[in-house]
Subunit: 138 residues, 4 copies
């Protein structure tokens, strides 16, 4: 993938492990959220500001493929990209890597812009859309 990427780092918490001795597969979905939060902050504005301006980026679909498990205290390196972008929706793509640059998993999430009050789909604010587009093109 040649597109621009945001890198996030976190550590597998003890709470994230399960009795298989690996990070439970639901954590990956939570990590993805950290990745797109970091991408929003880097590319446009913090997601906090998106909400304070009256918008929500609601999840419509999520998917994850698991290759190699993470273990307690592993450093997780998460690469987040903008997969596709329209006036009403955005799709993020994720790659989870371990310490040795190995791909542990990949995933995506699709989102719709909603008006925070009415909870109805809306067109994304023009300036944010431009920010995402120009960041992605760099």
């Amino acid at each position: 993938m040649e597109r621009r990427v945001t890198t996030s780092r976190m550590r597998v918490r003890y709470k994230d492990t399960d009795q298989m001795g690996i990070a439970h597969h639901a954590n990956h979905i939570v990590w993805f959220e950290i990745g797109r939060t970091d991408l929003c902050r880097e590319a446009a504005v913090s997601y906090r500001e998106i909400e304070s301006r009256g918008y929500l980026l609601v999840v419509t679909e999520v998917g994850c493929r698991y290759r190699t498990p993470f273990h307690y205290d592993d450093e997780v390196v998460l690469l987040t990209r903008i997969g596709s972008l329209s006036r009403r929706s955005i799709r993020f793509e994720y790659e989870l890597r371990g310490p040795a640059e190995v791909t542990h998993g990949t995933g995506f999430s699709s989102h719709l812009w909603l008006d925070r009050e009415t909870r109805r789909p809306v067109v994304a604010p023009e300036d944010l859309l431009k920010s995402f587009e120009s960041w992605r093109a760099q």
Copy 2:
């Protein structure tokens, strides 16, 4: 303990386990929340209604002692009581039991009544206070 009690039942989910092979200790705090939700519903009104009437029961302190761990798929029996009750605060007490009636852990949580808009401490609504008091006295 002679006071009235609400009984809640749940099962240890795989997600709740950690690599020690037991239910992670933070789950007990989440289970307590289920217990007081059930007690509210039984004694007065659902907590959902408490919020829709403009109040919040915010947590000011929580504590838990752990005796025996729970394992995956165990049935958790949670007993919830009202420990103390005032016009502005309420304290719940919890006992976690396993299948053989053994006490696995005990705990408590203290709460303040807040106005949902201002987030300021308030006196509890009179009717709810009476409901909690009469339920507890039974």
Copy 3:
């Protein structure tokens, strides 16, 4: 879908909500796990026994589409089916319904049978495979 289905019921916990006022989308992945646990118990043996017999059913892929959000204290009705079944893998399909039989979301998870010690892919035990097959065919 005409295939046999297992029904699980749970309630949205306060801990499951986020500041959008809905059940956070990662919970659905955890609910799915409850659904396939119930299906295993109904169709063959408890997942606990699967592990104690030396096997793991490890997750290789998961996906979820979100239509309508769940709110605090909602009853979630989860329908779980066996999507496909081979000697080495199994795929579960999920449908999440709300109180009014409305579909709130759908999803799937794919799994490989592993040897618990070596963590290597193995063929599923013959008796469990037969149990899943006959349950599914009913």
Copy 4:
């Protein structure tokens, strides 16, 4: 408090919020775990190594007082100290601060050393005990 302290930093994740619009109170218990993991690494060895050497530091009690809530995307500064230390047990104390050095909450956790195989209480390994003691005294 004059005793030596380990500082950990994390950000409130969206998943950590609840419909009150604040970080749910169960997260504090998970954050504490991050604090003592960091302290172990700094003072002696990683907790991962403690387990690989055949020991578990199991939680016997936990408590938290909540003063000021954290909100989404807030930076949480966690100060962790060794409260008390014996040959068989250890108690950690925690203070949660917000961006403006304000104390948002305080807490503690008590732990017993267990043999990982037998799950029986044991005396802590001498070298680790010394490391914790000398770190604490600095």
